[in-house]
């Protein structure tokens, strides 16, 4: 009993010591922590509106409850299936192709020997990530405009094909959106992977070269296995956003063309349209509420699975 008390006292002292020692670091983290609380946690109170018929006159707490009516509307329309299908499938496509492309480019970058060339490539591939989605929308339009677009005027028509009305045909857009997203995001992702790769212990590679390993063998036997934990962590984080979508990508890039809705409606664009057209806060929040809950579940499930298969790579 005495020992336990002493042990606890000792632990407390150590903690106090630690807090004192790391106080400046905690202080550094404080603004971020406060931001997180204000921005990510406080608004959660508003989620109750998903179960209410919001009245501007009565405010959040006094608006009348309407059970799950906001949800039944959501699932009563054909858009529920479309928006969940689109959101999930696009995210899976981004995750799958995005990871392959980013890892591939990161390994290529690692093989570039000239420092100047390496820096130039890094800057160039990062540029699309920094361009506003509205501008990307116009860039895409410059390619796909049915009358003056580059694809119709400079590619299809010179080859003898008829021009395509890109903004009225939904069937092309799953490909267009995936391509645009990959182009936009691969630079940033590959730099994250590249940063991991350059941190690997060089002695592995030196030993492999001594043993006569080819570059391909070095990639498959050293780089990829060492990169696996980073890929897993980034994948779990991406899975957490599985039910979220980049609003600009699905709204600005297809220019909100009605005929493309089947291919471009995601949870976010649906919520926006509902709120903008009807100012219906309850129904918009019902979709947002589902989005958050499902995203949370996916993260928990994925992390649990990773923890079982490879405990060291689990996020928590």
């Amino acid at each position: 009993m005495e020992n336990k008390k002493l042990l606890k006292e000792k632990q407390r002292k150590q903690t106090r010591k630690k807090i004192k020692k790391y106080a400046p670091l905690y202080l550094c983290a404080l603004p971020g922590f406060i931001y997180l609380i204000i921005n990510n946690y406080l608004p959660m109170g508003g989620l109750i509106l998903a179960f209410k018929k919001y009245s501007f006159a009565k405010g959040i707490l006094n608006s009348p409850w309407n059970g799950i009516q906001n949800f039944t509307y959501l699932f009563g329309s054909k858009w529920a299936g479309i928006m969940f299908r689109n959101t999930i499938l696009y995210n899976l496509a981004f995750l799958f192709f995005g990871t392959i492309l980013a890892v591939f480019v990161a390994i290529l970058l690692n093989e570039v020997r000239s420092m100047r060339a390496k820096k130039t490539y890094q800057t160039l591939i990062l540029l699309p990530h920094l361009v506003s989605t509205v501008l990307i929308g116009y860039l895409v339009y410059a390619f796909l405009s049915s009358t003056n677009g580059f694809v119709n005027k400079s590619m299809l028509e010179p080859l003898g094909f008829a021009g395509i009305e890109w903004y009225t045909e939904a069937k092309y857009w799953p490909f267009i959106i995936v391509i645009v997203q990959l182009w936009r995001s691969f630079g940033f992702q590959s730099i994250v992977y590249f940063a991991t790769i350059i941190g690997f212990d060089k002695t592995y590679y030196e030993a492999a070269v001594v043993d006569g390993a080819t570059t391909w063998q070095q990639i498959t036997k050293i780089t990829l296995p060492l990169l696996k934990p980073t890929v897993i962590i980034l994948t779990i984080m991406a899975l957490g956003r599985m039910f979220a979508s980049d609003f600009g990508l699905f709204y600005q890039v297809p220019q909100n063309s009605g005929l493309l809705y089947e291919a471009t409606t995601t949870i976010d664009t649906f919520v926006y349209r509902t709120l903008m057209q009807d100012h219906d806060v309850g129904r918009s929040l019902a979709a947002g509420f589902l989005q958050s809950i499902l995203g949370f579940c996916v993260v928990m499930i994925t992390n649990a699975m990773v923890r079982k298969v490879e405990p060291d790579s689990a996020l928590f």
Binding site: L42, G59, S77, Y261
Partner: protein, 519 residues
């Protein structure tokens, strides 16, 4: 220890979240209290006649009413105009003062939605035009009933024809003060004069033409000038010939603009709509539209920039329409397309008192002054005389030397947004009868059978939302002739049926019949 620390952090987060909820709740509670107080006051006003009875002798104690003012760009002179307005209000012992709140048209939906739920800095007076509909604002409880103010401000209500006042009522309850206007318009095809001269039709200015003649004129325009379009937008209700009950998605309409007909129909199933779609396809194939209409801005600026040679315009008289387009760099001729008709959508805006307003009596007094007091209306519409405009010998307002529409520091271009533009004077036009003719126009107009009817969409709320999405998906492509009419129209109608358009039309017909029976 680690677990304990995490537990503490989580507790703190949850506690803070709860504080957030609590504070939101308090605000909401306050909002509710405020609203209830407002509602009670309004109710009280109904009983007492709604008078702002006691006016303090000290203007600094007067209630300040915040009023939405339309802004196309930032208005740097807002404080000057506000001061001038308040100075005038003090001079007439109005008992209320004004706080002008700029609202940009580009961001109206976000801005107004936030302001109308802000109990701390409430927006007291606002206009539903461009933001929502009367029905939408009432359904979302964003405005209060004005019935309690009928007696006290009877002279204000009397300036409106009865069927105009009814356009701002739901279930017999008055929710808004309509904006004074001509309440009826006819449509013209407006064409650049030099192109009309080239085609040898400039001397037909003002002539009435058929749709077929108009189509031929536009085809001739693009044949002579293939670099130009001949039309901008085709989303034109008068030209299509419908009374839409104010619903921009046309979910249930009266044909013939509601003149002599009381049958609510599904426009998208009618032969008239099918023919219109064929005509649009014909226009598209002839190159009459601007390139990629779904991806381009379809506004009058395309005409003013010389991208389109012509466009639809609407107004109550030929002179008025000419005055409307006088600012354009191009002189124009107009060909009349329709009769002068007033529909349920002809009252384009209505002024409301918000539910977050803390002093509805004061707000109503201010709304009364905006509608009835010439000086108040003119200061808000034109700014300060001598600073933002001068008045010439004909009684026309002129901008100061070197100042244009784009460089003016007060927005003088939206007189129609305010409750009573006719109290102001015309700006930068030669038409001295601009407003007097406007007041006379209803005497020459035909009116839709539905003039004054407002559809309460509450019983078919879900169907309206579902059909709105279907319309957003299909209609524009048909309006700009981008798709095969037969196949798309079939799909469009199938989806509308599945979304419940028949329920909407049945509800509209039922309410419309009941409304007519009550007249």
């Amino acid at each position: 220890m680690k677990k304990k620390a995490i537990a503490w952090v989580l507790t703190a987060v949850i506690a803070l979240s709860c504080c957030g909820c609590g504070s939101t709740g308090d605000n909401a509670g306050a909002a509710s209290d405020g609203t209830q107080a407002a509602a009670t006051e309004a109710g009280g006003a109904a009983e007492n006649g709604g008078a702002l009875t006691e006016v303090s002798s000290d203007p600094s104690e007067w209630p300040v009413v915040s009023i939405q003012v339309p802004a196309l760009t930032d208005l740097p002179d807002e404080p000057i105009v506000e001061d001038a307005l308040n100075e005038y209000l003090v001079s007439i012992n109005a008992g209320v003062k004004a706080n002008l709140v700029q609202s940009s048209f580009g961001d109206l939906a976000n801005q107004l939605t936030l302001m109308l739920s802000d109990n701390q800095n409430p927006l007291d007076l606002f206009c539903w035009r461009f933001y929502s509909t009367l029905d939408g604002c009432v359904k979302n409880e964003q405005c209060i009933p004005l019935d309690g103010y009928m007696e006290e401000y009877s002279d204000m209500w009397a300036i409106f024809p009865e069927n105009v006042l009814k356009t701002q009522q739901i279930g017999g309850v008055q929710y808004a003060v309509p904006s004074v206007d001509s309440y009826g318009t006819y449509e013209v095809y407006n064409l650049q004069k030099d192109i009309a001269e080239e085609l040898g039709i400039a001397d037909r200015d003002g002539e009435r033409i058929t749709k077929e003649e108009m189509t031929q004129i536009m085809k001739n325009v693009v044949e002579k000038h293939p670099e130009m379009a001949a039309m901008i937008n085709t989303n034109d209700e008068p030209f299509i010939g419908i009374d839409t009950f104010g619903n921009s998605n046309w979910l249930g309409v009266l044909l013939n603009r509601g003149v002599g007909t009381t049958e609510v129909v599904n426009l998208y199933e009618t032969q008239e709509w099918r023919d219109y779609c064929y005509m649009m396809k014909d226009w598209a194939d002839a190159g009459i539209f601007i390139d990629d209409p779904l991806n381009n801005e379809l506004t009058i600026s395309q005409y003013n920039n010389g991208i389109a040679a012509g466009c639809f315009l609407g107004g109550y008289s030929a002179d008025y329409i000419k005055a409307l387009i006088a600012y354009s760099p191009y002189e124009s001729v107009q060909f009349q397309l329709t009769d002068l008709v007033g529909t349920s959508s002809s009252v384009l805006g209505g002024w409301m008192i918000s539910t977050v307003c803390k002093n509805p009596d004061a707000a109503m007094k201010m709304l009364y002054l905006m509608t009835m007091d010439e000086n108040v209306a003119r200061i808000m519409i034109l700014g300060v005389e001598g600073v933002h405009y001068t008045v010439d010998e004909k009684g026309i307002a002129r901008r100061p030397e070197g100042v244009t529409q784009a460089t003016s520091t007060w927005n003088q271009d939206c007189p129609w947004f305010y409750p009573n533009q006719c109290l102001s004077i015309p700006l930068e036009t030669e038409m001295t009868t601009y407003y007097t003719d406007m007041l006379d126009a209803p005497n020459h107009a035909q009116f839709s059978e539905a003039m004054g009817f407002v559809f309460d969409s509450t019983p078919v709320y879900d169907q309206m939302a579902a059909c709105t999405t279907v319309v957003a998906q299909y209609r524009d492509a048909l309006l700009y002739g981008l798709v095969d009419v037969d196949s798309y129209l079939e799909k469009f109608n199938e989806e509308l049926k599945a979304a419940g358009i028949d329920d909407i039309i049945a509800a509209e017909q039922e309410q419309f019949d009941a409304w007519r029976a009550a007249q």
